[in-house]
Symmetry: C2
Subunit: 306 residues, 2 copies
Amino acid sequence: MDEFELIRRFFLRAGTAPGVPVGIGDDGAVLVPEPGAELVAVVDTLVEGVHFPADIRAADLGFRAVAVNLSDIAAMGARPRWMTLALTIPRADEQWLGEFAAGLTEAAGEVALVGGDTTRGDRVVVSVQIIGDVAAGSALLRSGARVGDTLFVTGTLGDAAAGLELIKQGRPDRDLCGRYYRPVPRVAFGRSLAGRASAAIDVSDGFIADLGKLLDASRLGAEIDVDCLPISEALREAFDTASRRRFVLAGGDDYELVFTARPEDLPPAGDVRVTAIGTVVAGDKLVCREGGQVVDCGNGGYDHFR
Amino acid sequence: MDEFELIRRFFLRAGTAPGVPVGIGDDGAVLVPEPGAELVAVVDTLVEGVHFPADIRAADLGFRAVAVNLSDIAAMGARPRWMTLALTIPRADEQWLGEFAAGLTEAAGEVALVGGDTTRGDRVVVSVQIIGDVAAGSALLRSGARVGDTLFVTGTLGDAAAGLELIKQGRPDRDLCGRYYRPVPRVAFGRSLAGRASAAIDVSDGFIADLGKLLDASRLGAEIDVDCLPISEALREAFDTASRRRFVLAGGDDYELVFTARPEDLPPAGDVRVTAIGTVVAGDKLVCREGGQVVDCGNGGYDHFR
């Protein structure tokens, strides 16, 4: 099966959509942007053995490769529209490819796959790029936080890292491991934040690390209440306090949104859990309080996020 | 050196350009499209040991990764505008990265690097995506050829494949090997073909193979004169007739444009050599003539390009 046949069989059906007069099969895709909108472009790569275990199910890998990119689009407040795929695989295994394409398509929803490139290589490498759009001037940046804004986080933190730990321990838990394998990006809620929130970032590297990037970009500090950080029932049942705290503060792969806004500017949350966790302050320090005391949340001595 | 520092040091300077209110450093880039224009998106991946030898110079790799994508943009008649990079490397070697970024920047010219993702992996994998634009409805497709159109090719064919052969033989030739390491995409000429040529493709897999894709997409055949195929002096001097013929017909990596047009619609060629090589005909056969005789050019028995 050559590259062209491979694209035709597994990915072509994903390539028909509005605004795509030419999709897969030419030298490039032709895309029609919305008049007056700005574009948002994101790219994220998953490497076998680094970002996912070699024995991951192909459908989960396809799902995850799209979901992590959709999360970046959500953090920009944009609407995802078009996707390209650069896929490196050791061999053209039909069953694997069929499952991979199914997971990719499931996560993509209405986002059209408009182009791609499949190549051979020792290890699986998946790069997905998504192009979205947003009303001119309303993209959510990391740099827009203002002193006095409230810090919010969506959903619950630490589940994905806890799930990965359980996978490594060989005692998979459906809820927690599902958060790792099949993260649900906050696309609709992210879009509703555009023009309302002042800054946003998605939690991929870990809550404290990613909050630090937002504060660094905004050149501001924050005070947060660790007791307010949202924790799922599943995580509470599966791990003790110390492990939970580690997963919540430093665990990555949550793909929740951390954002800053005035409370009165919040959009309707719908069925998305939104938790106020602190306040943006002047300066460059992140102060964490727990049980009324100032504590070190892994940012000790790390006043300057740069 | 962490990923963020790496991006900052080597790639950030390439990220400031018109139409890019937000470039590298946020969750995604924000891009302002030209009012009324359509977008063209292309992606191409180079894998170590598959698309380039492990001992390639980093600057040549950076250059080539961009050039092959620019060639796809050229084949669509589009103007390249923005670029993202997904780079997988075994380790953050500063000298290697500096040279890679220099080659990438050199090939990119005015195309802005607006985003990217650097990851660790055993082998080097480079995926570049370029977004360009084109006047609405004027993108050059493979499918637009018409019966009676003349077939044209830019530049000369076979040089890159000959260069690669010389590299393998350990007797590098500057002109021919340069065509392999540093292909020059026909960006300006491709743009001038938009709205004038009826169909186009770039020669990456080999002249006969890529011409076949254009004819397949157009559901037409062609008659070509092999004696007319343009050959460089360097190729003529370095190889005998049989080798030359093989490189010209089947050698890939030329990144020249094959296109169809009425001769009166041709744009000014400027300093680009443009050669008429045949005619588009009804049917689904590619007939090759050489010395007045019908010959097999590697398409024997391959009447149906599908």
